[in-house]
């Protein structure tokens, strides 16, 4: 019958019904209000019926613990089945280490001719500041790569 009401009456009814639902949910009302108009009263009765059929129920701690204990193995299994192997913490740490070792190896390969040329002369002084800077840069690059990788995952 709401289509017969003007918009402001509808809005008023909706506000009052919403307010009534709030009070019914809080168990502050248990029956439709006598002074309400027939349409509102009828809707209030439905709200009461809904809230009476399902009074608020709080789960007790024992029930939560029991359910949690029951679900734990299933959650573990679900995680193992769904997470790609490389995403697991251990696998990722191994991957990071392998990545770092690989980068270091590349750095050594790139730098060894330069360093080797210096040491082949038989003097430690042959390691020039430029070569030392290159080696330091390689170490820094590896460190930054590891940090970047960790921050991304």
């Amino acid at each position: 019958m709401n289509h017969l009401r003007n918009p402001s009456a509808n809005s008023d009814l909706e506000d009052r019904l919403a307010d009534f639902a709030d009070r019914a949910r809080a168990q502050q009302v248990t029956r439709a209000e006598a002074e309400a108009d027939s349409e509102l009263r009828s809707l209030q009765q439905t709200v009461i019926r809904l809230s009476t059929a399902f009074p608020p129920k709080w789960m007790d701690e024992a029930q939560v613990r029991r359910m949690q204990a029951r679900i734990a193995p299933q959650v573990r299994q679900a995680w193992e089945e769904s997470v790609p192997k490389w995403r697991s913490r251990q696998s990722r740490q191994r991957l990071v280490m392998a990545f770092a070792v690989g980068l270091a190896a590349i750095g050594v390969l790139v730098l060894s001719p330069l360093l080797g040329a210096g040491t082949s002369g038989g003097t430690a002084a042959a390691i020039t500041p430029t070569k030392a800077a290159l080696a330091a840069s390689a170490v820094a690059a590896v460190t930054l790569a590891i940090l970047w990788f960790r921050s991304k995952h």
């Binding site: 639902a21 809707l43 129920k57 949690q68 299933q74 769904s82």
Partner: protein, 185 residues
């Protein structure tokens, strides 16, 4: 801290917990579980027979555990979990089959409405449950948000992307539809 700020903080905490769970922290999932269990449990309680509420609730969380590694965070975890719950409830009724459903809540052959002759509370719960299930999804959704999840109309408006007046209007239409399903008018 106001309620909106609390919700934002809770959503941020959820995101952090999901990330930890992806990294293999079962404890993070436990925290998520305890935080969202009451909402899911209550939502299921409104639409599934009492004896199966726990099982369906657990199924929701096992499905969440399986899907979370792929969760992109495009919606809030609570919203995502709500959809997952609805999906599991549909699945539950599909499993039970129509035969069992008709045993739970017989329809009046003439009117197609639920038979509601002086039901006791348990019987009435079943009738209301079946009527809720028969409602169009947006109507059922707003009733569950208000009554099962105890969201305020302000929170419902935010969750559904409506303004407050539109949320209240939808609620009124949902109550009307429920009243009609229950054959009250």
């Amino acid at each position: 801290m106001n309620k909106a700020a609390e919700q934002a903080a809770a959503a941020a905490e959820d995101s952090a917990l999901i990330k930890q769970y992806r990294d293999g922290s079962m404890e993070a999932f436990n925290v998520l579980y305890r935080r969202h269990l009451p909402g899911v449990f209550n939502r299921v309680r409104y639409v599934v027979p009492a004896e199966d509420v726990e099982d369906v609730t657990q199924e929701v969380f096992v499905a969440a555990a399986r899907s979370l590694p792929k969760f992109r965070g495009e919606s809030q975890f609570g919203t995502w979990l709500r959809s997952l719950t609805n999906h599991k409830v549909v699945e539950y009724y599909r499993r039970r089959g129509r035969k069992h459903e008709s045993q739970v809540a017989p329809l009046d052959e003439e009117t197609g409405r639920l038979e509601t002759s002086e039901p006791g509370r348990t019987e009435d719960r079943v009738l209301v449950q079946t009527a809720l299930q028969a409602l169009p999804a947006p109507y059922r959704e707003i009733l569950l948000m208000r009554f099962a999840e105890d969201l305020s109309f302000q929170e419902i408006a935010k969750a559904t992307g409506k303004n407050l007046e539109a949320a209240k209007s939808l609620f009124r239409r949902a109550v009307e539809a429920l009243r009609n399903q229950l054959g009250e008018k």
